[in-house]
């Protein structure tokens, strides 16, 4: 197996490869290794947007070898919340890194002027990008495709104007339809004058025991494509959750003022699939094909002339730029998604920031003087499109504050009770109950995917769970995902990769581990992430939980703040934090 980390220094314009057996032996790969590289590379207290702050990418031992092992992890110091920045993307990047022969990538320093990095096997070139600075993230792909090698097996990751202008929740677009969305990696790219990275390679991977590999491969492939374990992601895709959550009163609507939306059916996965979906595509080496592309066809003259836009949609985007902004039409919602794609902004954070601003304007906390006359109102798609552009251009103090996230905005203008962030990260699309809220507060990156509290709440809606049971479930998920994110698998396939199958898949590529080994590793990885968080000033006891969570009825009814406090006490005890 490969154990190579490629280091690129933008200050010195040089690169070198180092074998890091030490890290991979102990930490497996993926997020396990990336966390260690971050601890090594990022000086304590570094400004996340300074040249001292590094960018780390990692893949894992199963990358490109098994179906749905498609993710790359990015580790960095987040410019949004000032602590652990971690984000995952699919597409073709993980495969491209595997075949380029690098399991890890470290970017140090900052370029003097706009650049992009071209990586082809061991050849690394830092190239001028002045002519594409300012170009939308969507268009950068077309341009670099024509000048770079590796068609069909490469990956092109890039930022849009949002990242260039350091919007704290700008993301990095991966191969047009996937993203390192959360926690502001795009701004870190921008701060380094780094517009894009192109990766391709021609290495391949020899398996130590090809019979054993094929056997477990076949079992996993069959499970992924033939059982209903993945049905949700094949057919309607993640947007199936729109109707599901709406019916169980867990769909955040108009900045969490409601938990069901009267127009949910119109922006539902079913309606989108029936009337807008025109294509599904896949990440490299994943037979699921969950990437749903909708076609937005807009007439621009009376003579049957149309603009056609192809927009990838998922549940979280529909929540953030649909129900949570009261947007009632698929067209309006798709236009807002596209605006985020062009600017290279995280859709969840953008939606939550706009929802806060809409409510703040409604309540008179801010006025149209701040918004520069932009009418922010529920379902006001035109206004939202204008606001997105202004968040990036930052023409006044108000918009430059919005560009720093909803916590910064509410610190400056008020309205903290309805500034929907936890751990400084704008929240994902669930108002299912205490496990979701608590899971986001304690999760390593304050993401719904840290421990899937929403799913624990949904179980609790059927059969009530005690605070102890919820905390135990969250801890189990937190730790197990540390391992899964070291392989690195797509979380959609987590049900397929049972502990036994993970052990067998690792064994077939020459890594012998027991289930116990992996469980211990998961706990250690969690602790290491917390080590970084604490080092950078994260304090769980100062968790800021917006009151709105306690005011709007959730899937399991009104959430009592005391439940969260009780869970917090149990959690500290279980984690051995006294």
């Amino acid at each position: 197996m490969l154990r190579r980390v490629l280091y690129i220094d933008l200050d010195k314009k040089e690169s070198f490869v180092e074998d890091r057996y030490d890290l991979f032996e102990e930490w497996l790969g993926g997020t396990g290794v990336a966390t260690q590289l971050l601890l090594e590379e990022c000086p304590e207290g570094a400004d996340p947007l300074s040249p001292r702050a590094p960018i780390i990418f990692g893949i894992g031992p199963l990358t490109a070898l098994f179906p749905a092992m498609t993710k790359t992890v990015a580790a960095f110091k987040s410019p949004l919340n000032g602590e652990l920045g971690e984000s995952y993307a699919g597409g073709r990047l993980a495969m491209a890194m595997r075949f380029a022969g690098h399991e890890g990538l470290v970017i140090r320093g900052a370029a003097e002027s706009p650049c992009y990095i071209s990586i082809r096997d061991d050849e690394v070139k830092i190239k001028d990008a002045t002519s594409i600075w300012g170009v939308p993230a969507t268009v950068v792909g077309y341009i670099l495709r024509d000048v770079e090698a590796g068609v069909g097996r490469r990956s092109i990751i890039r930022i849009g104007p949002g990242g260039e202008r350091l919007v704290r929740y700008a993301g990095v677009v991966v191969d047009t339809y996937r993203h390192f969305g959360r926690l502001g990696l795009g701004a870190v790219f921008g701060s380094k004058n780094l517009k894009a990275i192109v990766v391709s390679g021609t290495e391949d991977v020899e398996l130590p025991n090809s019979k054993r590999y094929r056997d477990i491969y076949n079992q996993l492939f069959k499970t992924v494509v033939q059982t209903d374990a993945m049905e949700k992601y094949h057919d309607i895709g993640t947007p199936i959750n729109v109707n599901v959550l709406n019916q169980m009163k867990g769909l955040p609507t108009r900045n969490f003022q409601d938990s069901s939306f009267e127009a949910a059916e119109r922006i539902s996965g079913e309606n989108l699939a029936d009337n807008y979906l025109f294509r599904r595509v896949s990440c490299a080496h994943c037979p699921i094909g969950c990437i749903h592309i909708g076609m937005l066809k807009t007439s621009f003259s009376r003579h049957h002339e149309f603009e056609i836009r192809k927009i990838s949609y998922d549940y979280e985007l529909i929540y953030a730029l649909g129900s949570n902004l009261g947007v009632t039409t698929p067209e309006g919602m798709l236009e807002l998604i596209e605006a985020c794609e062009r600017q290279g902004l995280d859709a969840i954070s953008t939606g939550v920031v706009l929802a806060w601003a809409t409510e703040a304007l409604d309540r008179g906390i801010i006025t149209e003087e701040e918004t520069l006359g932009v009418p922010l109102k529920w379902d006001g798609v035109e206004g939202y499109l204008e606001a997105i552009e202004r968040i990036v251009k930052a023409p006044n103090d108000f918009y430059s504050t919005l560009a720093r996230g909803v916590v910064a905005a509410s610190d400056r203008y008020g309205g903290k009770d309805f500034a929907m962030a936890l751990g400084g990260n704008e929240v994902a699309g669930y108002h299912t109950g205490p496990a979701f809220i608590f899971g986001l507060a304690v999760g390593v990156r304050h993401s719904h995917l840290d421990n899937a509290g929403y799913s624990i709440d949904q179980a609790a809606a059927k059969k009530p769970l005690t605070p102890e049971e919820m905390v135990d479930a969250i801890i189990a998920e937190d730790d197990a995902r540390g391992v899964y994110n070291s392989l690195i698998g797509c979380l959609f396939a987590r049900g397929v990769y049972t502990p036994d199958r993970i052990v067998e898949a690792l064994g077939s590529v020459g890594i012998e581990k027991t289930k116990d080994d992996l469980q211990i590793l998961g706990r250690k990885i969690f602790d290491e992430k917390y080590r970084f968080k604490l080092r950078e000033g994260f304090d769980l006891s100062k968790s800021r939980i917006p009151r709105r969570f306690y005011e709007t009825a959730s899937t399991v009814g009104i959430v009592d703040p005391e439940t969260i406090e009780t869970m917090m006490e149990i959690y500290r005890e279980r984690r051995g934090w006294g």
Binding site: F99, Y142, R153, T176, E206, R214, S282, C283, H285, P287
Partner: protein, 144 residues
Amino acid sequence: MAGSDERKKRRRRLKVAHPERCIGCLSCMFACSRINTGRASLDRSAIRVKTQGGLEGDFAVVICRACKDPPCVRACPRGALEKRENGRVVFKRELCDGCGACAEACLIRAISIDAEGKAIKCKHCGACVAFCPHGVLEMEEVEE
């Protein structure tokens, strides 16, 4: 023994039955290299899924058409590609010196040269068909 004569005459070949259904997952390419070379590789696959204009564009699935009068066989100066009586083309790896004449002769670029300098020629074994999740690929019998 009419049956076996029948079988002799008919050879099977890979067919891209529904190219529009491709989702670009590359499972077929990984199946080909895994099963035929014991490696996880895109470069060693005899079937290729190409992007045309990135993931926004359509996928093109490039396969050997099992030609009746194969230009690759005619081009090979070393007899490494041999057409059998039943129409099958057999690749003799030990005779190949990687000159690339076969790859050049194939207009659809269904042959390439691997890292060891040997041709990668589709055997029409059908391994890829079993791993296509969308029914893009099929095996068909060739009428001679």
